[in-house]
Point group: D2
Chain length 326, copies 4
């Protein structure tokens, strides 16, 4: 599977590493408006550097991975629809729900494999949780609590183009909730604040508690924050009628110091690149498998549209101070 | 300090045990409409059995502990006001906020020591958390999450007279939130369901997620459930600008079995009597200290009124499906 | 059960507290060469102060608890034999194995109940471990590892009269090993050092690793130290053919701080008085039960003699540098 | 760095994977008496298949990795000495100390880089422990306890050619102890048994407790077992004058199930290939670095000789039942 990677930034590099470690995948080419970034990555993995136009007219390319800025996602997905080749795209499809929906239509009409980058689904811990929930290990789920704290806020430049906490960060948790419960929200209520002055100035929030009433009766609670002194905090608790399942944080190491100050364990792994390293690899494997079998991936463009729809409702609730229906 | 205990049921027995273990306190007498219960408890601790009228006309008695049914609390507190003697009363003051407020007025006018039984404040873990928060160990608190699950639902008889989940169970969490944060809620939003058919039939709920926006800016999230297969689940997480403080569950023991099925720790202690054994004792100590020094206890009737006010707003939100102001 | 307590020091106080909390036991009287200590304890629990002679001629006394200095134990036990009354005695019986054996003979001839103070057997965690081992939960035990560290070394005065690490501290672990495995050691090998200069000057050691080959085939490893910066360290690991059972430390509380320095739990409970508070109480209950039923307690003078025999062999191994047979 | 891999079995494959993931290393060729294994591995990584003679006469090869059977190690290392090229060899050098010493001499005379495969030193947890010990985080080390249990016994064929528990398994722990403490043992005492009948028939043992008295005064205790129902058990505890440092097991995942049976965590990772995956990679990086800088690796043939010397003393102690000097 010869892959053209569009976007040679932080996430693009992660994909390049995953491709390099796979026997049956090759990094064919790299596209980036930042010529230096494209050259550097291409050189490291013996790939070509292409322009966008070259990329979509090159017959050797089997599939595309889109890791460029959000604003380009929908257009690039539609180009893949036009050339009829499989595409893996980082979330979100677009900051506008309308644009995302029109893009999804193009995918549907073309029939291409279009996989969305909800990487957490491919984390071994999350996959194991999903598997245990589906096998009814704790009975029907009455309450699901998802906690996500980033280690520290992103740059203001990033914040400005991110679409806000709900479209950028909590969108993962919206997807997780629907996926884990095989369910959809009926309504969403948001309480959120900006504790960081810079984030406040941008009109965004950095701390949020959210409740979603799900159609089948579960209550979903999501806690988000842009900073956690102890690392990347990613936990889930599912309360069922016959037990609780939790995913706990991965710690930096297993060394424990016991002394007069207490019993000290390592911090949580510091960022998503470490915590979800395996997830990114498993994600690529699933994309390759979908391509080879020609089947819909388990996470596709409709999931991306759904998560956006919830993010928009969250934004409405933030403004109105009321629960909003979906 | 000669104590008259009104109510010889489950909680009454807990108080009797605490009194017996204290050198400077004596169980003077026991009052209960259930004659058998009163006799049995009085005999065990060499106390007298009195009627209510005798109890309030007996000059030997220094103080009263009220552990009778909720409906009697306000009347009994007012009798203590009338005789001008210190009283410790289990929560809630009354199921009606109005009645609780008039009762509080009588206490205020009489000037008696009136301590409310929010036992969790006296748990060594919670007290340590409070102490660490007040000392600014993790900076200002952005988010507080309180999780409380009972091991199994109470009897339907209990449910019927309990005033519902918010007045009976979550009232503890309302008090904890205000106490831990030294703050008051501006608004409250409730999502709740009855998963248990019997509880549903009674018009009550058994599972709830609640968000409170606090005046000083923290967001409080409370998760409650009437049953947890793994014991009495009582946890708190406070997220501050420079760290997180958690209170974790006390487990039944420290024996760990590692085998082909995994690494198995004991369940959480099964019920509040075990989990809060020390809390009940510390509570008594504080009541005795307030009595001896003649000062207001750290948790008094106003705290009880506040918690009830929040419970009423919660009930309103449950009905309206909207956030309710306080 | 009217109890005469001989010894009003640290351990004596622990026993007095346990007696006070038991409905069916009364602290009848206190004996101590330190008049002040005896007076103070007796006053607190409304008991009499007696001389040794009075104590053994008082017909009201039902049983004796010996918590005086080690050198007096054997004589006092023999006095109990002479008056034919039950006795609970703190370990060890004596520092000399010969003296302990002659004392045991007097007990045997008199037929009195004589219980030895191996308190750990009555700790709920250890009792649960024993129970699980006896029920064959992990199959036959191949290896047993006992770790015991005191929080800090005792006074040099204590060290001098203690009989040394093996007779004073590791004697508990010798008893635990035999009890947990229902087995006896064939041989013992000791490696030990004094890291503390004062302890070295006294000719004692403070750090030791010991291996015992047990008759039925298990290998027992014991690790001891006189100081641990993180509290009272008391752990056990039993490796069986189908799993491992561990007893972990009880921590001071369940509050966890997560910040840039890591994830910090409380230290282990600081001393044996906290860690074994319940054990002391359960021990008293068992003594009372043995007295009432007139049966041999589960831990009696023969167990004390056995533990001393092992401590003597340990001392021989320390000197010879070789494994010593028992 | 073009590497010739000698040995295409289980460990050989691990090295091939590590090489493939490194940009600056290439698997040049594979040698194995099992033609099929060599072909399969070579094909997967586009490498050549060579005979031993070809491997040592091929001028393109920069370095050798020896992952063949133990009996061939010393001869192959000497061939590397002869051709003057760097070699990485799996432990042990040989089962005979004499042979290992003569081999070490050839390495010394040739001056080649010769790194030994004590992989655990390169595990991030162990490396962090080492770092913390060297930085004096817990003061001088009084006691070091190393626990190693394999998940299940190897095949009898493996047992027969392994050289026994001490040469095959505990040799890692001997190396760890000397490395972590920067010290050497003065004497060693072994208690060991065969609980498995098949292993007993082979004259080997499967369960051992070992005490080593170290020159600088620490006591080292090593616990080994050939089977642990809960996975690959690899733990270390270092007790210092101001604290304890532990390395705990890596678990299979971070999913926790709490229900009526208790609180169940995942088992320890099942085998060394998972637990030490990163260690194997770091090991390769260190070998590459030693090659490029032309310096002695941090773990070299002398360390292999030392560990063998301790294993021989352990074997003597097992026979004599006495501590043996080194």
């Amino acid at each position: 599977m010869k892959i053209c990677l569009i976007g040679a930034g932080r996430i693009g590099i992660v994909h390049a590493i995953a491709i390099a470690s796979e026997q049956n995948a090759t990094l064919h080419s790299v596209v980036d408006v930042n010529q230096e970034a494209a050259d550097s990555l291409a050189k490291k993995y013996s790939a070509e550097v292409l322009t966008i136009d070259e990329a979509f007219s090159n017959a050797d390319i089997d599939a595309y991975i889109i890791a460029s800025s959000t604003a380009t996602h929908a257009d690039l997905i539609e180009k893949c629809s036009q050339v009829g080749k499989p595409v893996f795209c980082e979330k979100p499809i677009d900051l506008s729900l309308d644009r995302a929906e029109s893009c999804a239509k193009s995918v549907e009409q073309s029939g291409i494999v279009c996989m969305l980058g909800f990487n957490r689904r491919f984390d071994p811990n999350m996959a194991s949780l999903k598997n245990k929930l589906d096998s009814n290990l704790i009975g029907s789920i009455q309450s699901l609590v998802i906690t996500s704290h980033d280690p520290s806020p992103p740059s203001m430049e990033y914040i400005r183009s991110s679409g806000g906490l709900f479209h950028d960060m909590m969108i993962h948790d919206f997807d997780m909730a629907c996926w884990l419960l095989n369910d959809l929200p009926e309504s969403i209520y948001v309480s959120a604040r900006a504790n960081d002055k810079d984030i406040k100035r941008e009109g965004d929030v950095d701390t949020a508690s959210v409740i979603m009433n799900m159609k089948k009766g579960s209550i979903v609670t999501i806690l988000n924050g842009r900073q956690a002194a102890f690392g990347y905090d990613q936990r889930i608790e599912a309360f069922g009628e016959s037990g609780m399942l939790q995913v706990k944080n991965e710690l930096e190491d297993k060394v424990v110091l016991s002394n007069a100050d207490g019993i000290n364990h390592a911090k949580a792994q510091h960022f998503f690149l470490e915590r979800y390293e395996k997830a990114y690899h498993n994600e690529l494997l699933h994309f390759m498998e979908s391509y080879h079998l020609g089947v819909k991936p388990s996470v596709n463009i409709e999931d991306g549209v759904l998560a956006l729809r919830i993010a928009e409702a969250a934004q409405r609730s933030l403004k109105s101070g009321l629960p909003e229906n979906l």
